[in-house]
Subunit: 302 residues, 2 copies
């Protein structure tokens, strides 16, 4: 699992920093999470192939999380995209995009599917054979969802030495990988444990931006491998954080601690701060494994 | 008069080039012409003070000319702008912007005035004591206007030596600058010509993008000091130019020649071309004073 931070600053695009967007590579799927103005240039800079993006997840309809989407959709059009594109986001996203396509009299040559979200309960919004994506209801000034990206349990790893020792025919290998025991021709049962190794545990990544401090998300993000949690402010601006329904670095770290996250990634920094290291220092008061997101940073979840 | 090119490439924002936007400084007024994605970052890079922009002119509703507008409006909001902002653009621009502000539940703390255009005849869309702006109806795939920015005739320059020679009281100076003759106490009339010099001739700048070759614009842009005319293609792509209702460099130059423009500025290059010098070479076949627009270029009209 690999996260490429395209932008992780709040509010407005600036000369050297970009508002929110990131790319998640999970089981060879490429998901785009949020899509602020400038995202398509950031995709180019980070050498993400446009054609690989089939699913876009939009957390909420504040501009610093989706103003780049209509441009990206148009660029896909100009690049003669043929594959379907799925947009998962709050109700309204379809109206906004289609209105602009209507006035420009341009329609996509590919299928554009909108999956509009309205539920305030967590729900599964994407599922295939390898990956499952759920919403994480967040508390912000407008309807907002975080997203939990989860690998499905992987098949067990074949113990080649063991299967060869028992001369098991290859046609049984898939059954063995699926966890089945094997009955030999002599009637003896060989337990699956003897024939396989444990697979790598499935990984989970939770993306939570924008949100105020909200313990209700904790059961949903329990023991995630990485939690991206917004930290727009430092504790010195607590009042501002409360008023704008954002979090401080300390609050983000408290959520990570309560959720027993393995790693916390901080982002969505207010542009008022010159030095983002202070976010790490503050968060380390309650949680130790902290990474500061920064534009262009690649985070591999081992 | 000074033009700052923020972006002058067609279609999509790329790592090193930006779609259309430019700033015109005319008689201390700052006008923003078109506003593609990335414009606010380009404004920052080119050190244009956001607060000085009170009028935005949008040629048409293709994304590469206006997708940056909603973000700019939002940024003005975040910067606590108080002054009125006027948007001049095709019908539809208001609906597009207000829909997005509605869903983000954010409203501007400043007055936002939309002046929607629908006429296919040239009309005056802005006028104050120093400047007049008219539309230039263009021929493109959707409703499109170019804009003619014109200084109003300036007051005559006082010939200080002459007024002192006749001991004319200072209270008459403004009348003299306005072109009036003066009757001295002895009854003798002094003609204005003797008391003043000709002012600098008022300047005219015509912005014409996007458009196919269209001689109908010529009377409107006659003898402009500078004509910015789109040249999306070279003559080798004439067929593509016709199909997409764009112009070639040669066609732009032909319009400049027929309109007796003093200078032609080429822009809106298709991103298929690696080297924009070819646009100049082609246009020079019929017109000599050619400037290639490029992102960040500043053009002073002397």
């Amino acid at each position: 699992m690999k996260i490429t931070i395209l932008g992780c600053y709040a509010a407005t695009p600036r000369t050297l920093t970009n508002p929110t967007s990131q790319v998640l590579e999970i089981c060879n799927r490429i998901f785009l999470i949020d899509c602020a103005e400038g995202t398509q240039v950031q995709l180019r800079k980070n050498k993400i192939r446009f054609s690989q993006i089939n699913h876009v997840f939009i957390s909420h309809l504040h501009g610093d999380h989706f103003y780049g989407l209509v441009g990206l959709i148009s660029t896909f059009m100009l690049l003669n995209r043929q594959t379907d594109l799925h947009i998962h986001g709050p109700k309204g996203i379809k109206e906004i995009i289609l209105l602009q396509l209507k006035y420009s009299n341009s329609y996509t040559g590919y299928n554009l599917f909108f999956h509009e979200l309205t539920s305030t309960e967590s729900e599964i919004i994407f599922e295939d054979d390898k990956v499952i994506v759920r919403t994480i209801p967040l508390k912000h000034r407008i309807y907002t969802n975080g997203f939990l990206f989860e690998e499905k349990p992987k098949e067990r790893k074949l113990n080649v030495e063991a299967v060869e020792k028992y001369s098991i025919d290859k046609c049984y290998y898939q059954n063995i990988k699926n966890g089945k025991d094997i009955i030999l021709d002599n009637g003896k049962t060989i337990s699956n444990k003897e024939l396989t190794f444990d697979p790598l545990p499935p990984k989970k990544y939770a993306y939570c931006s924008d949100t105020m401090y909200n313990e209700e998300m904790i059961p949903l993000i329990n023991e995630v491998d990485a939690l991206y949690h917004e930290a727009t402010f430092l504790e010195t601006e607590t009042e501002k954080a409360n008023k704008t329904m954002h979090s401080t670095a300390l609050e983000a770290a408290t959520i990570a601690k309560l959720a027993k996250a393995k790693q916390l990634i901080l982002g969505h920094y207010s542009t008022r701060y010159e030095n983002i290291e202070m976010f790490k220092t503050e968060a380390e008061e309650v949680f130790s494994n902290i990474l500061l997101a920064d534009d262009g940073k690649i985070i591999e979840l081992e």
